[in-house]
Every structure is written in structure tokens, then in C-alpha cells.
């Protein structure tokens, strides 16, 4: 006789009471009825005392045995995925913040940089303008007039014609545009 025999109405199935499968299972259960071996609880408690104190909450859920529900690998994988997502999110947020800072500093950076180019053109423009003007003037003048008058002619033409546009562009535009436009346009117009 089992400790909890199968009742006829347990499954709401009229065939259940005479079911040979249930009878076989109950026969097996009756034959295998046994008490726990002597000293089992002492051995269990000795094993339990070697264990660390059980934890509650997240760490208990994480380190709990797989048979307690859920499975250990999916739990660890879920935590690892969460950590990876958190780190990736933090990195992305940091990069986004840097980008926003750069965009925010964009207009204010050019005014702060503009004073230094405005000082630089005054020193660099004068040599750069004088250098391309003198080579372009000397070959053309040497072809027309010979070697002696070549050195004398360019200087008045240059000082007369080239200085107004150079000084005008110098004051209005910054250095790169001044050097690029001044030297090519000045020399062709001078020679004829």
C-alpha cells in the first residue's frame, strides 16, 4: 500500500481506477517503500556546514544550481550580454557627447583662430608677393628690352600696379586667398 494511493476521481477519468499502468506503478512504489538510511541527516548537515552561507537576491539567482530553475549558462550569458550592452552604451554615449561638444565648439573655434592668421599674413604676404612677381617680370622684360634695363623697369611697374590690388586684398581677405589670387593675376596684366 502506498502512502498516497491513487484515488479514482483524481484524473476525472473513469478508466483510471482499473488502469493496469497505474496498478503497476503503485505496485512498484509499494515494493520500493523504504526509510532513509540511518545518519543521512547528519551527513547532509555535515556537508551543508562546509558550504558558504546561502545568498539572497541577484547573487543567489546567478550562482544557484541549474536544477533549481533556469539553468546556469543562460543566466550567466544573460548577465554577460547585459554587461556588454552597458559598456557599449556607455562608450557610445561618450562618443556622442564628444561629438556634441565638437559641434558646439565649432563656431567659437574659428573666431579664436582668426586672430593668429590675421597676424601671420602681414609677415608672410610681403615675401610671397615679391617673390613670384620678380621672376615673372624678369623673363618678359629680358626678352623685350635686354639685360640692362630689365632690372630697372619692373620695379616702377610693380610698385605702381601691383601694390594697390595687393594691399586691397591683404586687408580684406586672409592669407591663402591673397597669395593665390594676387600673384597670377598681377603678372599677366603687367606685361602687355
Amino acid at each position: 500500500m502506498t502512502r498516497r494511493p491513487f484515488r479514482p476521481g483524481e484524473l476525472d477519468d473513469p478508466r483510471a481506477p482499473g488502469d493496469p499502468t497505474i496498478a503497476e506503478l503503485e505496485g512498484y512504489v509499494t515494493a520500493s517503500d523504504a526509510d532513509a538510511p540511518h545518519g543521512l541527516s547528519d551527513r547532509v548537515m555535515a556537508a551543508v556546514e562546509r558550504e558558504p552561507t546561502p545568498r539572497r537576491g541577484f547573487f543567489a539567482w546567478l550562482s544557484g544550481p541549474a536544477s533549481a530553475g533556469g539553468g546556469r549558462f543562460p543566466r550567466v550569458a544573460a548577465v554577460a550580454a547585459t554587461l556588454v550592452l552597458a559598456v557599449a552604451g556607455a562608450l557610445f554615449a561618450g562618443q556622442l557627447a564628444d561629438l556634441a561638444r565638437d559641434v558646439g565648439n565649432g563656431p567659437s573655434a574659428t573666431p579664436s583662430a582668426s586672430p593668429s592668421p590675421s597676424i601671420a599674413p602681414s609677415t608672410t604676404l610681403i615675401p610671397s608677393l615679391s617673390e613670384p612677381a620678380s621672376p615673372s617680370a624678369t623673363p618678359e622684360t629680358s626678352d623685350d628690352h635686354g639685360g640692362s634695363g630689365a632690372t630697372a623697369q619692373p620695379t616702377p611697374q610693380q610698385t605702381a600696379n601691383a601694390t594697390p590690388p595687393d594691399t586691397a586684398e591683404e586687408t580684406t581677405t586672409p592669407r591663402p586667398s591673397a597669395t593665390a589670387t594676387a600673384s597670377p593675376t598681377a603678372t599677366p596684366t603687367e606685361t602687355p
Partner: protein
């Protein structure tokens, strides 16, 4: 405190393991493992079902895991029949074969039928207790048990066990 639980539940846990495994030494071993495992995961016990049922579920899973490992290695020794079938060697052999057939038939069931059949018959839990422990509706448990018994019918019973 935990000793109270062990002393109260050691009998049913040991018997369940014995009925699944068929060997007293393995049953004692798995019962001890199950108590230690339950102690470790006490924090994950939600308290919404009977503590004995929760413990028995752990023991059932552990016992079937052990049974799977035993099959994977080798089955060198035959299981002796449980109980006292008498002194006739033929009766002892037949009883051993019959018990083994029942054990293997239940073990061959798929989940969730195996768990429900094992908890109901080997663990001697009521269907209400199984429903509360597994957090499933009572009607679902009844369906699982009915289907489990249907799958066992060709394997054990009048025509199944010779």
C-alpha cells in the same frame, strides 16, 4: 533550522531517488546532493509553493541526471529488486526485471510528463501539491499525468511487463 527541513523531508527525498535510480547507494548519494543543492539555492526559493515540493523537484532532476550519466558510462551491474520478493531466485529475478521495466519506462518519458509522473507516483505528491510546486494550473498537471500514463501503457501494465 535547515536540519529541521532535512529531518522532515529526508524520507521522501530518499525514497523518490531510490525509485528513480533503483540502487540504495546512489539514492543516498543523490539525496544528499539534493539537500546541499537546495541549501545553496535557498535564496532563489520564492516561497509561493510547498518547500517539500520544491525540494522534491530538485531531487527528481538530480536523480534523472544521475541516471543519464550512469547510462552514458556503462551498466555493469544489474539492479537488485527493491523490497523483499522472497527467497525464490526466479521470483527475485522476475521482480527485479519488472521493477527495472517500470523505472526505465518512466525515465524514457519526455518532459513534462516524466516529472509529473515521477512526482505523483515516486514522490507520492498530490496533484494540488505538484501544481503549486511547478507553478502550473491543476488542469495542466492532470493533462500531463494523463498523457504520461497513456505513453506508459504500451511499456508497462498488463501487456507491457512480462
Amino acid at each position: 533550522m535547515f536540519r529541521v527541513l532535512v529531518e522532515r523531508e529526508e524520507g521522501v527525498v530518499y525514497r523518490t531517488c531510490l525509485r528513480i535510480l533503483g540502487r540504495p547507494h546512489d539514492a543516498e548519494d543523490v539525496a544528499q546532493e539534493s539537500f546541499v543543492m537546495a541549501f545553496r539555492s535557498l535564496g532563489s526559493y520564492r516561497g509561493d509553493g510547498p518547500l517539500g515540493g520544491w525540494l522534491l523537484r530538485i531531487a527528481t532532476r538530480q536523480a534523472y541526471r544521475r541516471l543519464g550519466q550512469r547510462r552514458e558510462t556503462a551498466e555493469l551491474d544489474r539492479d537488485l529488486p527493491l523490497g523483499a520478493p522472497g527467497s525464490d531466485p526466479l521470483a527475485i529475478t522476475l521482480a527485479g526485471e519488472r521493477q527495472r521495466a517500470v523505472r526505465l519506462a518512466v525515465a524514457a518519458l519526455r518532459e513534462p510528463y516524466r516529472e509529473v509522473v515521477a512526482l505523483r507516483f515516486f514522490g507520492e505528491m498530490s496533484l494540488d501539491e505538484i501544481a503549486a510546486s511547478t507553478h502550473r494550473p491543476l488542469n495542466t498537471i492532470k493533462t500531463h499525468l494523463r498523457r504520461g500514463l497513456e505513453r506508459l501503457r504500451p511499456l508497462i501494465g498488463a501487456e507491457g511487463v512480462a
